[in-house]
C-alpha cells in the first residue's frame, strides 16, 4: 500500500476496465429501455475513470485524478440531460421504447 509500485499489475486494471466497458456497450446496444441504456453509459464512463485512476497510480501523476473528476462532472451533466429527454419523450408519447422514437429517420 505504501510502496511506490502498484500492488497489482497494471494490465489487470486495463483488462477489468475493458470488460466493464464492453458490458456497458452491450447494455446500450441490446436494451430498449432508455433508462437502462443511460445506466450502461454510466458504466462506460466509470470504466474509463477506473483506467485513468489506475494509470495515475502507476505513474504517480495526479493529472489522471483531475481528468477523472472532470469526467464525473460531465457524466453528471449527461445523465441529467439524458433523463430530461427521457421525461419529455415519455410525456409526448407515453412510451419510452427507443426503437419507436425514430424521428431522425432519414
Amino acid at each position: 500500500m505504501h510502496a511506490n509500485l502498484l500492488p497489482v499489475a497494471l494490465a489487470n486494471y486495463v483488462a477489468l476496465s475493458s470488460v466493464i466497458f464492453f458490458i456497458g456497450v452491450a447494455g446500450v446496444v441490446l436494451r430498449r429501455n432508455p433508462l437502462i441504456m443511460l445506466m450502461s453509459i454510466e458504466l462506460m464512463w466509470n470504466a474509463a475513470n477506473l483506467l485513468f485512476l489506475a494509470f495515475a497510480r502507476a505513474w504517480l501523476n495526479n493529472a489522471g485524478h483531475i481528468f477523472a473528476f472532470l469526467v464525473i462532472t460531465v457524466a453528471a451533466a449527461e445523465a441529467a440531460i439524458g433523463l430530461a429527454i427521457v421525461v419529455i419523450v415519455f410525456r409526448s408519447r407515453a412510451n419510452v421504447d427507443v426503437d419507436e422514437v425514430a424521428m431522425m429517420k432519414g
Binding site: V29, V98, M103, K105
Partner: protein, 642 residues
C-alpha cells in the same frame, strides 16, 4: 468672372424656379427671362475680350478645376462659342418672353421655366467648355433638358414615347463621342481642345475613326440620317421648346462640334466626304419628307432637319464660315417660324393640322407677316437672311470640290421653297376650314384638342408677350444676313482668326451664276406652291384638293422612308427578343437548369445513403462501436508491427 456669370446664372434661375415654383407661379417667367437677360448682356460685354488674341490663343479662357486626373475643366469663349452663346442667350431670351405668354395658363409654368433655364445652362456648358469631356457633359445635359421638355406634358403617352426616343437616340451620340474621347485621350493624353488640336498628327491612323465617332455624336444631336427619327416626334413638346431646342440651338450642336473640331476635319479628307455627304443627303431627305406632312410643327421639324443638313454639309466640306453663318441666320428665321406657328396653334386651341387651318392671315396678323419674312428667308429669297448663308454653303460645296453636293443643295433649295410656301399658303390663305368635318379635308384621325386643361380663372396673356418676340425675330430674319455681304464682310473678318483661310481655285460656276441658278430654282418652287394652293381657283376648291392630296401622297414619304421601321427591325426588336430569351429561357432553364442538375445529383446521392439513417438509437450506437473497433484494430496492428 464674366464667363462664370454667363455660365451659371441660367442654372441659378433653374434652381430658383425649381425650388420655389409653387410660390412663384407666373413670376417664374420673370425669373426665367432675367436668368437669360443677364448672361446675354454679359456675353455682349465680353465681346471684345472674346475676339482678341490673348497670348497664344484667341478668346477668353478660364481654368476651373481638375475633374479627374488628366481631365481638367475650364471655360473658353472664343468667336465660335461667342456666336453660339449670343444665339442661345439672345434668341433664348426672346423665346422665354414668348413662353410667358404661351404657358400663361399652364399650371406647371414654374417647372417649364426651370427646365428651360436648365437647358440654357446645359447648352452653355456645351459651347463654353474648353475640353471634350465638358462638351460631352453639356451634350448629355441638353439631351436631358430636351427629354424633360419633350415629355413636358407627361400625361400624354405620345409625348412620353417621343421623349424616350429622343433621349435614347441622343445617348447613341453621347457614347460615340465618348469613344472618340477614348481615342483622343489614348493618343494625346488630354481631352482639352488646345492639346488635342495641337497634336493632330499624333492621332495617326485613328484620325478618321475619331472623326467618324465625333460625327455619329453630331448626327444624333443634329438629326442627321439615319439618326434623325427622333426630331419630328420631338414636336410633342410645347412650341417654344421646339423653337429654342429643336430649331435654334440644341440641334445645331452637331454643327458646333464639327466647326470646333476643324483641325481634325481639315486633316481628314475621308471625314469631309462622309460628313458632307450625310449633310447633303439629310438636307434632301428632310426637304422631301417636308412635302408630305400636314402637321405644321412636323413640317417645320423636317425643314429644320433639312436646314441643319445644309449646315453640316457646309462645315463638312470645310466651308466653316458658311456653315456657321447658316446656323446664325437659321436660328432667327426658324425660331420665328416656330413661334409664329405657336401663335397660330394657340389661336386655334392646339390644332396643329394645316388642313384644318386656312385664312389665318386675318386672325394672326403678326404671325402672318413675321412668318412671311421667315419663309422668304428660309427659301433663300434675295435680300433675306437665308439667302446669304445658304448661298454661301451651296457655293462652298462646289468651291471645295464637291459638285454632287452642290447639285443636291440646289435641288433641295427648290423643294424647300415649295414646301415652305405650301405651309404658308395653306395656313394663312383662303378661308378657315377648322369648322368643317375633318374627313372633308382628308384628316382621318383628328387629334384630341387641348393638350393642357384650362385652369380655373383663366386669363389672357398680354398680346405683346407673344407678338413682340415674333416680330423682333421676323426683323432679324430679314437683316441678319447683311453682315455677310461681300468677300471681306464683317462675318469673315470676325472668324479670320478662328478658321484657316483656304486658297481655292475658282470653280467652274462662279458665285454669281450660282445665285442666279438658285433664284430660278427657288422661284420655280414658289410658283408650283402658288399654283397648287394659292390661286383663287385653288383656294375656292381647297378642301377637295387637300383631301385628294392626302390620299395621293406617295407611301414612301408618308412612311418617312421606312427609317422608323428599319430601326425597329434592326435594333429594337432583336434587343427585346434577346432580352426575353435571356430572361425567360436562358436564366431559368439553362443556367439554373445546370444548377438544378447538380442539385438533382446530390439529392440522388442523398437518397442512396439515407437508408442508413434508420433513426434507431441502438443501431447508431452499434455503428459507433464499429468505428471504435476499427481504430482499435488499427492500433493493435501498429503495436504488433512494433
Amino acid at each position: 468672372m464674366m464667363l462664370l456669370a454667363i455660365w451659371l446664372v441660367p442654372l441659378a434661375g433653374a434652381i430658383v424656379n425649381w425650388a420655389f415654383g409653387p410660390q412663384l407661379k407666373r413670376a417664374a417667367g420673370v425669373v426665367g427671362c432675367v436668368a437669360l437677360a443677364v448672361p446675354f448682356v454679359a456675353t455682349i460685354l465680353s465681346w471684345s475680350a472674346a475676339t482678341q488674341n490673348a497670348g497664344s490663343a484667341v478668346g477668353m479662357h478660364q481654368a476651373l478645376f481638375s475633374w479627374m486626373p488628366g481631365f481638367d475643366f475650364g471655360l473658353l469663349l472664343d468667336p465660335l462659342s461667342l456666336i453660339w452663346a449670343l444665339i442661345i442667350t439672345g434668341v433664348g431670351f426672346l423665346i422665354h418672353v414668348y413662353s410667358v405668354g404661351y404657358m400663361w395658363n399652364d399650371n406647371a409654368i414654374a417647372r417649364f421655366f426651370a427646365y428651360m433655364n436648365f437647358f440654357v445652362f446645359a447648352m452653355l456648358t456645351l459651347v463654353l467648355s474648353d475640353n471634350f469631356v465638358g462638351l460631352l457633359v453639356g451634350w448629355g445635359l441638353v439631351g436631358l433638358a430636351s427629354y424633360f421638355l419633350i415629355g413636358f406634358w407627361f400625361f400624354k403617352p405620345t409625348a412620353v414615347a417621343a421623349a424616350r426616343k429622343a433621349f435614347v437616340i441622343n445617348v447613341v451620340g453621347d457614347v460615340a463621342i465618348m469613344f472618340a474621347i477614348f481615342l483622343m485621350f489614348a493618343k494625346t493624353g488630354s481631352t482639352s481642345f488646345a492639346t488635342v488640336f495641337g497634336h493632330v498628327p499624333a492621332l495617326g491612323n485613328w484620325l478618321f475613326l475619331v472623326c467618324v465617332f465625333l460625327f455619329i455624336g453630331a448626327a444624333a444631336k443634329s438629326a442627321q440620317i439615319p439618326l434623325h427619327t427622333w426630331l419630328p416626334d420631338a414636336m410633342e413638346g410645347p412650341t417654344p421648346v421646339s423653337a429654342l431646342i429643336h430649331a435654334a440651338t440644341m440641334v445645331t450642336a452637331g454643327v458646333y462640334l464639327v466647326a470646333r473640331c476643324w483641325p481634325l476635319w481639315n486633316a481628314s479628307h475621308e471625314a469631309q466626304l462622309l460628313v458632307g455627304t450625310i449633310g447633303g443627303l439629310t438636307a434632301l431627305a428632310g426637304a422631301l419628307l417636308g412635302i408630305a406632312q400636314w402637321d405644321i410643327k412636323r413640317i417645320l421639324a423636317y425643314s429644320t432637319m433639312s436646314q441643319i443638313g445644309y449646315m453640316i454639309m457646309g462645315v463638312g466640306v470645310t466651308a466653316y464660315q458658311a456653315g456657321v453663318a447658316h446656323f446664325f441666320t437659321h436660328a432667327f428665321f426658324k425660331a420665328c417660324l416656330f413661334l409664329g406657328a405657336g401663335i397660330v396653334i394657340h389661336e386655334l386651341a392646339d390644332e396643329q393640322d394645316i388642313r384644318r387651318m386656312g385664312g389665318m392671315r386675318s386672325r394672326a396678323p403678326v404671325a402672318f407677316f413675321a412668318m412671311f419674312a421667315s419663309v422668304l428667308a428660309i427659301s433663300g429669297f434675295p435680300g433675306f437672311a437665308g439667302f446669304f448663308s445658304k448661298d454661301a454653303v451651296i457655293f462652298g460645296a462646289l468651291e471645295h470640290g464637291h459638285p454632287w453636293l452642290y447639285v443636291i443643295g440646289i435641288i433641295t433649295a427648290g423643294i424647300t421653297a415649295y414646301y415652305m410656301f405650301r405651309l404658308f399658303f395653306v395656313t394663312f390663305f383662303g378661308t378657315y376650314r377648322g369648322d368643317l368635318d375633318p374627313a372633308q379635308v382628308g384628316v382621318m384621325n383628328p387629334s384630341e384638342p387641348a393638350a393642357h386643361e384650362p385652369a380655373h380663372g383663366e386669363t389672357h396673356a398680354p398680346a405683346w408677350l407673344m407678338g413682340a418676340p415674333v416680330a423682333i425675330l421676323g426683323v432679324f430674319a430679314v437683316i441678319a444676313g447683311y453682315v455677310m455681304i461681300g468677300a471681306n464682310s464683317a462675318w469673315n473678318r470676325f472668324f479670320a482668326q478662328t478658321f484657316p483661310s483656304a486658297n481655292l481655285a475658282a470653280p467652274a460656276i462662279s458665285e454669281g451664276w450660282t445665285t442666279a441658278i438658285l433664284f430660278v430654282v427657288m422661284a420655280g418652287g414658289i410658283a408650283i406652291a402658288y399654283v397648287r394652293y394659292a390661286t383663287p381657283v385653288a383656294l375656292a376648291d381647297a378642301p377637295a384638293r387637300l383631301r385628294a392630296e392626302s390620299q395621293r401622297l406617295p407611301a414612301i414619304l408618308v412612311k418617312l422612308f421606312y427609317f422608323d421601321e428599319l430601326i425597329d427591325w434592326l435594333f429594337v426588336k432583336p434587343s427585346q427578343a434577346l432580352g426575353r430569351f435571356f430572361g425567360s429561357i436562358f436564366d431559368p432553364d439553362v443556367i439554373d437548369g445546370g444548377v438544378r442538375a447538380l442539385v438533382g445529383f446530390n439529392t440522388g446521392l442523398g437518397t442512396l445513403v439515407r437508408g442508413a439513417q434508420t433513426g434507431l438509437l441502438r443501431s447508431y450506437a452499434l455503428v459507433i462501436v464499429f468505428g471504435a473497433a476499427l481504430f482499435a484494430v488499427y492500433y493493435a496492428l501498429q503495436g504488433a508491427a512494433r
